[in-house]
Symmetry: C2
Subunit: 352 residues, 2 copies
């Protein structure tokens, strides 16, 4: 265990410097952003996550925890500053998710988990709450920031969901550069895959290996409310370690992984994707608010603590409503979270 902690500590320091660099580029001091807001009439709010799962305190070194908190805080700062300076929520969401995709600590973009065939297959989606327009991509292998491609599908195509090589061809038509797939490779993720495959061979039930279970999660997402009252939600993931058969989870599915309606709420999900698809989780929270007049908190709690577990699934959601209320609910042991609103709420936390 000591050896593992030492290794993860060294890894964390390396990642820390990488992620910090990425995250700090467009940032300015948080206090400035907050002070600019005190006179705003329209509330603004942002919430982001880096996945839910079994991230137990004892499996994480102090330096790794510090690295996670630093990136979450940096990403939050970037997103909130955009909103505080009058920027639109689509820019806040894509900027935050781009930072998390670029950081190898999270299972999205660089750092994505490996499929059974030792590839990284990326999914992402985004939805605009005013227009309820949406864009999503599934199974792309050469797009540095899948959330930006999802945005391009939303804004520059008549489609919602593009998959595989076709999605990459669309990306090229939109001026995206295709990456060498080696860019996404993070050694520790590859080792996780090989452990899972080894365990599969020995017919060990990998579901009960805490470290492997944690590696199933790590999707990232962000929901933002801007000064115009528009809510945008986005989600990005590398999916499940050892995924086979072209499996698509909930992250690129509008209504399951991502949903936004400026009249109700915006939601980004993370967890065991199959259950989130079957439960139509993201839209269900919106429907409970619209049709049953539940508050955002009541709706998110009902879905995550009763409806998803009743199906057999686990995971969490981040959500916010038009008033800037923020909800972060999960039925797993932990979740990487950060949020801030103009009413004075601010949190950056790894819930253990």
């Amino acid at each position: 265990m000591k050896y593992t902690l030492l290794l993860s500590g060294l890894l964390a320091l390396l990642l820390f410097s990488n992620c910090a660099e990425t995250a700090s580029t467009p940032a300015s001091p948080t206090d400035d952003a907050t002070s600019q807001l005190t006179n705003q009439e329209h509330p603004i709010a942002i919430v982001l996550h880096g996945g839910a799962g079994a991230m137990k305190k004892e499996l994480m070194s102090d330096s790794l925890e510090a690295a996670y908190l630093h990136v979450l805080d940096s990403a939050l700062h970037v997103g909130y500053t955009i909103l505080a300076e009058g920027g639109i929520s689509i820019d806040a969401v894509t900027s935050v998710i781009t930072i998390l995709e670029d950081c190898p600590l999270f299972n999205a973009g660089k750092g994505a988990v490996f499929t059974n065939t030792e590839e990284n297959e990326l999914d992402a989606s985004i939805m605009d709450g005013n227009t309820r327009n949406a864009g999503a991509v599934a199974g792309v292998k050469r797009i540095k920031n899948p959330i930006l491609l999802a945005k391009s599908v939303m804004l520059n195509s008549e489609h919602v969901l593009l998959a595989g090589e076709g999605a990459e061809n669309f990306a090229v038509s939109q001026g995206f550069q295709l990456m060498d797939p080696a860019y996404f490779r993070v050694e520790s993720r590859l080792q996780s895959l090989r452990k899972v495959k080894e365990a599969d061979k020995k017919q060990v039930n990998t579901h009960y290996d805490e470290r492997l279970k944690a590696s199933k999660f790590g999707t990232v997402g962000c929901v933002a409310l801007d000064k115009t009252g528009n809510i945008v939600a986005g989600t990005s993931t590398g999916g499940m370690t050892n995924k086979k058969f072209g499996r698509i989870g909930d992250a690129p599915i509008i209504g399951a992984g991502t949903y936004a309606n400026s009249k109700t709420c915006g939601v980004s999900s993370t967890g065991w994707g199959e259950y989130f698809i079957r439960g139509v989780v993201a839209y269900d929270i919106s429907a409970l608010i619209e049709y049953k007049s539940l508050s955002l908190a009541e709706a998110a709690q009902l879905v995550i603590h009763e409806k998803v577990p009743a199906l057999g699934g686990d995971g969490g959601v981040i959500a916010l409503d038009a008033k800037g209320n923020i909800s972060m609910e999960f039925n797993t042991e932990g979740m990487f979270l950060a949020c801030q609103n103009s009413a004075g709420m601010k949190e950056v936390k790894i819930f253990h």
Copy 2:
């Protein structure tokens, strides 16, 4: 026009004999099935569709119309007989959809429309209303009956949605035979594609060409309620003519194209898929029943005649509830429909 009618008449006669043969195999007389039901306590019901769109009377020869009606009736008979004899709704739904997939008249299985690269890419999904388990496949090119593969994903995997070659690899692992892609090729569909591409070159707005607009639709689907009270819904399609970039529509998306919950309803959608995804159409009908206490008819009408058009989309749904009530709503000019329940309702119709 006369020449077109003559050609389509000849085609219809050819298809008629093909489809009739497929459809009649597992059938027995309808009257028998109905009479078996008179003493049933639990209602049974089935509804199926062959797509919604601009199927104007003047664009369809009498013989083509007869061919459509014959297949719709045959498929209905097969499905209803299964339910009447105490079979389960999953068997009724897959049997009906298999017949429609095998018939080249419909845009699913054999007869699927062509993609921009002159291929047939098939999508399907199925959901079980008791367990709310679900299975779906997207972008498969060599599966004769995608609905059966979707069923296999639901019953024999821990996944919900598999795409592309991965889905075909799963199929092989489940004992499915891969077809030569030439099996799916129907000459008239290829000509439709080439017309669309020609029009695109000339920058004609193909949206207003009635025949091409009709070719966008033609998805098939079925919802059934069996004697145990279980509702199952399924959908299968070849997608849009001239589709590019690995586009995935609503048919394989649980919550958009297909949804079933035995406590509320089962739904299969058809139409302009992007709007059905954004509107989370199939689940929305269930949510309106569950959360707002709307009747099946009220919920389906609200979604199809108000909510989908408000987004800018068109299409239709078939739906039924646990009491055996049936709803068929569309905001297009027509829809291929058939339904029967143990309360004595029976319709086989092309609505113009």
